[in-house]
Amino acid sequence: MMKQFLTLLMALAIWAGPLSAQSTGPLRIEIDEGVIEPLPYAVPDFVSENGAGAEFGRNLARVIAADLSGTGLFRELPQEAFISQITSFASPVQFADWKAINAQALITGSVSVDAQGKLVVRFRVYDVFAGQELGQGQQLVGTQEGWRRMAHKIADQVYSRITGEGGYFDSRVVFVSETGPKDQRAKRLAIMDYDGANLKYLTDSSAIVLAPRFSPTGDRILYTSYETGEPRIYVLDIASVGRRVLESQAGTMSFAPRFGPDGQTVVYSQSQGGNTDLFAMNIGTGASNRLTSAPSIETAPSFSPDGSQIVFESDRSGTPQLYIMPASGGEPRRISFGQGRYGTPVWSPRGDLVAFTKQSKGRFHIGVMRTDGSEERLLTASFLDEGPTWAPNGRVIMFTRETQGAAGKASLYSVDISGRNLKPVMTDSGASDPAWSPLQN
């Protein structure tokens, strides 16, 4: 018994010894605060694998860098700081050299021209400090004329692999180009890449045009024109630049159209006898139905991404405010309750926010709020800001900013939904009423 007891004691001591030593477990700390700063990255010129692709190597890298740095989320490291050079797309990356210059992301690529004259671009994205690739390498093949789009698509991939949300670089913007003095301003529709490149005009300046809007597939545009003297809605095919007017009842004015997510339904405002209400039309059949019937002015409708609801502007409470109602009509629910006048609501493509224009205390703001009206925050403030439109990923808003005075000029600006990175969008002439396209295929 004594031996057994001693043996048991010894066994307990042996077992309990290491247990007590490990009782503390791993050290646990919680980091609940970080920093918000642009992520440093490096994008060396893409390696030219044959002589024909030499000129594209640098251009591709420059466009990718402009895309990424333009978001405000990334900061390019100058090529003068590079310790090692990328001379071969296949050779392993010397991560230590890129760590030394604090490059947290590295984009390498190669470019060549194949026998058919097509541009072949390959790229990889690396997490330098983890020493591994983000995602997998990809290859793009396209025409030499379309090299900018290839660069945008690569930038979209890089953006997505680092941030976790989709990019918006391979997209276009349609807007109203404005030239001439303020009292005799010529307006015409124009379309360009999101960064201002590849500008094209879609209409002449013979008639005033307003509020162009993309279709969900980005191939058509709705807009309002005073071509016949009264505002009417047109549908324009971007590829052929052909257009047709949407049928409307005699004695009415139609404006503020916007596509539904199905690409067939169009919601718009129709004014008759001094009263303005919302209507929906099937663009294929031409059949329309009334959505609101109030003595007040209802306008600026915008579908939710799932097509089930519509946010719009109404002054039924005395001042213009924002309301949401079912897409088939019904009792609207007011969502804006702050001081001032709210207008031009646009539902985010992510579905979580509504962007709007707010006029308060003599200044205009672009702001966002949740779809229940909570967490309103104003992103800009100036003499005149209006007409927000969402980037395809719901992270950036583009809008019109007009300066004060007789020589005032309208131009396009963009801002991150955090309120950071407010900057102008380069256009050759004055510009207003931007509409951001979805990502191109």
Binding site: E30, G34, V35, D127, A130, T163, A381
Partner: protein, 369 residues
Amino acid sequence: MNTGQIISGAGHLALIGWALLGGVFKSEPLPFEVTEVTAISGEEYAALIAPQEAPETAMDVTTPEAPEVEDTAPDLGSEADASPEVSQPDVAETTSPDESPEVTEVMPPAEAEVSDEAPELTPPSEDVAVMVPEPAEKPKPRPVERVAPEPVAQPEPDTQVDDVAQPETVPDETSETPREETDATAPEEAATEIVTEADEPEQAAPSTSRRPKSRPPRSEPVETVDTAQEEPAPQEPKTDNSSVNDALAEALGGGGTGAAAPSGPPMTRGEKDALRVAVKQCWNVGSLSTDALQVTVVVTVKMGEDGKPISVNQLSATGGSGAAVNKAYEAARRAVLRCGAKGFDLPRDKYDHWRDIEMTFNPEKMRIK
């Protein structure tokens, strides 16, 4: 066989019977029973009760009546004196209402201006980019102060540079190998002293008390010390043991390879805060999506003795989709690897406590609001 067993059994029975009946157990209980205790308690118990009762009755009888009468008398006198105090509140009321309205008028215009201009002022924040590494280098000058007072005779102040692989600190005892591992970590350990809270506990308790325990195992590594100096020298220029502690214990002349083995005192709050500050300076959430900013991710970090992370793995995550979780984890991993590239400032004698670290990255305060 049977006879042997019978003999053996009989012998055991006899032995047991003798043990039971032979007074073996009687001898033990006898000394425990002491009769003197009972005899004393009987008489002195009454004597103890008597003095206890006497003072109690004496106090009760004498004190109560006389003081009560005296207490009432001064109360009456004080009430009569209270009347002049009325003059004080009048003065206080007149002063306060004059100043308060002026303050409220000043405030409103200031708030209105700030709210309108705030959005436009935010863009310049982009320029503040790579300010992180500078504060990380500040701790280096301080170690000189700590190293200097204790081991005055040692040439450690020369070892301020971290990356030097050949620090010559104690060439006195080991004539064969003038270079030892111990001094290379002087700047790293000194960095823990950035946090002022950590100064006292380090010097007082842990370093001196633990050292004697670590000596016995050194008898074995004494031989290996020579080899260890040759072999791992290129691999572990920075992974040396704590310099200050070993400098004080230099009399042994050992390499001190076993110094990290014993578990030291637990990490102090200051030491944990220092690590937290070091990591958060590299946790950049500016490039994360709004979805990824909803994810709280827990990572496990395997640390080397040099304070550098060996591996980072995701332990758990809450609050987001798969892609968002992945990006949140990658940002956390970047924070650990980037700021740990030169080694975190952690106390080497407590390596057992930070060999494995669970870091929770909670972005709740960093979300876009």
